[in-house]
Symmetry: C2
Subunit: 534 residues, 2 copies
């Protein structure tokens, strides 16, 4: 089925099939070098009712850089950065584990590169966004900067280590002197989770795998319904050519098309004509193409398009797009894929397929609304970047995907908050407790035995804590079991094992305690069947 | 038993018991703010035989910052930093997993702080080493710097978030504009693995746990024999006082004593007298104390020492040291603990117990030798640091340990290299292969089924790869199984599962393939018993 998306400015409702209008990302994706646009000016409207003071406070909070400034030396983190408290970290760890499991399932190896790069490595790779790069002070020696993404360092890594063939993932922090919008999960220091396939391969097989990965991760995370938009730079360039745009204006026109998810067509059109100097006729012709989105049928239709089918890059792009859809059909994931001619992505270095995943808003889903649904993954093919680093200009074709982990984290954080779920921040299995005084030594000896047996155990750092305090600590921190050792237990060579939730108590021979704790807590030990499902 | 360590300069062999001489760390430990001394000038001697050219090359390599400079734009990482290739990362992941497992076993929660801090947060915390801090360029806005360790950010974090009680670990990169010595695992960007306990507790219980953690991690990693040296800043200060050092010179004298593991007593003595202005008599008296090392017996002896027992801090320190040894006895680890009065540690902020773990050289252990054995963990009590950040100066007592992960990694890396062990860089369980042409679709469909079933699977990104090439890929990368799907298998609804090492092949009904792969590869599924040992 072929769908025509009405232009947003016309004010008509888009067709029910692929309603993307209200779901467009409020800001660009934290993708390698994705040109994140400056924050739009805050809407005023109802806000006028809010007092200036409140607005000022909110604005300060939205800028990020949490902390208690003002008095004495500033007690805060830098603007746009934050501390991660244990509850954050526990949630983040879960999220990273899901993403890493998927990357490993697809045979990727891990690599790491320094957070610092030579300035010259980064310069000239991000267009206008180079001004957002953090530079280090010249303290003698090399001129350095903090990495802006993981893709340019990856290209440098491939060229420097003469690697022509690798499937790798890289999860690390990157740095951008951007306008932070911390409520939407947009920070100046943030994680990127990248998966890339480098090497000369048969067309569209690695590209299809990248889309499969996005599909798997978004499904595994249960973030709700989503859509993966796909396009190809060669098709876009073909469209520009047949619409009468001179080749010198392809890149700049592309960056204007990229704004279609943040502004209505009318504004995009006037930027094309006013700022970019396109003819009104060319802009109108572009407008007809970029509202198209659909599936295989749209590809077939464009392959028959009298003008586009005469353009070599467009024809190649459409041929590859057809192949891609064949592979995605075999993967069984075309239901969530949309070939969308408005997708441009901000970066210069893409040379082929590009894609971006967005979450679709659900009925009564207030959580997403407050976070600002948007792009949660993106990527594409960049066949020329490594060649920019290789002394002999040798190219290594690459395609990759970046998971917008910070935005996903913001959504999950809000969901956990809304659900009232208490995230455990430790994995402690048992608290070693004593019911009488003068038993610190007994506790230290027992906890040491448990640690040596691999049990996760804690005790209170007090000589003579009250039993009630010890039990309360378990309630507060979610420790499921208490190993109580008193004078009677010492005499009998047993330990009283108490289940915190049921208050059930049972004496266990001391030498069997570790096994008993494991038996009760580790799902793997219950049965072979449960092992299989781990 | 009480041991007198002969002064190194005397040229006599130290007693067999605790031979530490040759094992002293060649450089300071990568511990929070540990004052890493500047590299000593390279010894000349035999080196004179080596041509200048070779020496220049070696020096450049030792400086770190790997890469291929020289021609065109420099293709390299910044000085003192490096890329981590997949084989590195696989080994690092193993190492981190062991350390994190121990931290979690002790009930620690994870936190994270930004790699960037306000400059004013870091300034005035590291003494002379402040000059090693990487500062960011003033690009408008706040003045920033890269963190130098994880301890000062932790103190800032506690004060800012008003946390008075936490047991946390933090594994992250820190940055020092130091002289790199990359062969010894000393870089300008490196990981720290810190475990700290903050809060007001009964004496020496958390301190003892920190030592237990060092003991567990070094045992788990099987790095060979090790020794944990323990001392107390209060005891050292007491020693200085009773030897006639004025209080104003305690800190500077302490930093001279700290050099005892890198230079002989004679040199330390002349620095005390020459540079620090101590009287020769005071220096000699200090010399008598700082050569002492032993266990409970030494503590008892010093508690009877006519001068030291009259000094309040020393008496408190010795009392706590006795308590510490009691607890360590209950933990069963005193065999590897030495109360060592020469241990000073470089940092100003320690206020009580300090400790440092060193690897002991073994006979025929050439590996360690080439890496340069040394300090692999260290830490201590710092009760005043948080108060420096709190607006009201409220103190939060802290004790913590830092695992010298980079040095340990260097040792493990050399061992793996020496053993010839091939480290797998991926976890792929099965390669999906086809024996005939025109079966790309069949491969894509099957691999998709396996991914969806949670199996780690790869395929070659070629339309029609030769079977031999596919099998060779498994040999090269260590993939244990091959799922072969040809025309016959498609007709029969089976998949031929091949074991790479034995070349055994068996047909498996397609719907049972994922389970069969799991059954063959995942130890957890074999029996309940094996589950328990995981």
């Amino acid at each position: 089925m072929l769908r025509l998306r009405p232009l947003a400015a016309a004010g008509r409702l888009p067709p029910a099939g692929l309603r993307l209008g209200p779901l467009r990302p409020a800001a660009g994706l934290a993708r390698p070098g994705a040109a994140r646009p400056p924050r739009p000016a805050a809407p005023v409207g109802d806000r006028r009712l809010v007092s200036r003071q409140v607005r000022a406070v909110t604005a300060a909070a939205a800028e990020g850089g949490s902390g208690d400034g003002g008095r004495g030396p500033a007690l805060k983190t830098p603007k746009g950065t934050r501390d991660h408290l244990p509850a954050h970290m526990a949630l983040r760890d879960r999220l990273f584990a899901t993403v890493v499991a998927c990357f490993k399932r697809h045979g990727a190896a891990a690599i790491d590169t320094p957070a610092l790069e030579l300035r010259e490595t980064l310069m000239g790779k991000y267009g206008d966004n180079s001004k957002l790069i953090y530079e280090l002070q010249d303290q003698g020696g090399e001129l350095l900067a903090l990495r802006y993404d993981l893709t340019v360092p990856f290209a440098r890594y491939l060229a420097m280590n003469k690697i022509t063939n690798i499937k790798r993932y890289h999860i690390a922090k990157v740095y951008r002197r951007d306008n932070p919008a911390t409520t939407r999960g947009r920070y100046r220091e943030f994680y990127q989770c990248d998966f890339d396939i480098a090497g000369q391969f048969d067309p569209m097989i690695p590209d299809a795998e990248c889309l499969k990965i996005v599909h798997e991760i978004l499904s595994d995370l249960q973030l709700g319904d989503f859509l993966i938009k796909v396009n190809d730079r060669r098709i876009l360039n073909g469209v520009f050519a047949v619409c009468g745009v001179p080749e010198s204006k392809f890149i700049t026109t592309c960056s204007t098309v990229d704004k279609l998810d943040k502004m209505p067509w009318e504004d995009v059109r006037s930027e094309m004509v006013g700022e970019k100097g396109l003819s009104p006729e060319a802009a109108d012709r572009i407008g007809e193409y970029v509202q198209l989105h659909g599936g295989l049928d749209l590809i077939e239709q464009l392959l028959q398009d009298p003008k586009l089918s005469q353009n070599k890059p467009a024809k190649e792009g459409l041929g590859d797009m057809k192949l891609l859809f064949e592979y995605l059909t075999l993967f069984g994931i075309t239901g969530k894929i949309s070939f969308d001619l408005s997708l441009a992505r901000g970066l210069d270095y893409y040379t082929g397929v590009i894609f971006e995943a967005v979450l679709l808003q659900q009925e009564n889903d207030h959580v997403e609304e407050s976070v600002g649904v948007g792009s949660v993954a993106g990527g594409g093919r960049y066949d020329g970047l490594v060649g920019m680093f290789d002394p002999k200009g040798r190219k290594v074709p690459c395609v990759g995907v970046s998971i917008g982990i910070e935005r996903i984290f913001s959504i999950m954080e809000q969901r956990v908050k809304a659900s009232g779920e208490k995230v455990r921040t430790t994995e402690t299995q048992v608290l070693v407790a004593t019911p009488q005084k003068h038993l610190l030594g007994a506790r230290l000896k027992l906890i040491s035995e448990l640690w040596d047996a691999g049990i996760k155990a804690e005790m209170l750092y007090k000589k003579d804590p009250k039993l009630l305090k010890q039990l309360q600590y378990c309630e507060d921190t979610g420790i499921p079991l208490v190993a109580i050792i008193g004078e009677q237990e010492l005499t009998d060579g047993v330990v009283k094992l108490r289940v915190v939730t049921t208050r059930e108590e049972v004496n266990i021979p001391r030498e069997k305690l570790a096994d008993e704790i494991r038996r009760r807590l580790e799902p793997c030990s219950l049965s072979v069947q449960s092992c299989l499902t781990l």
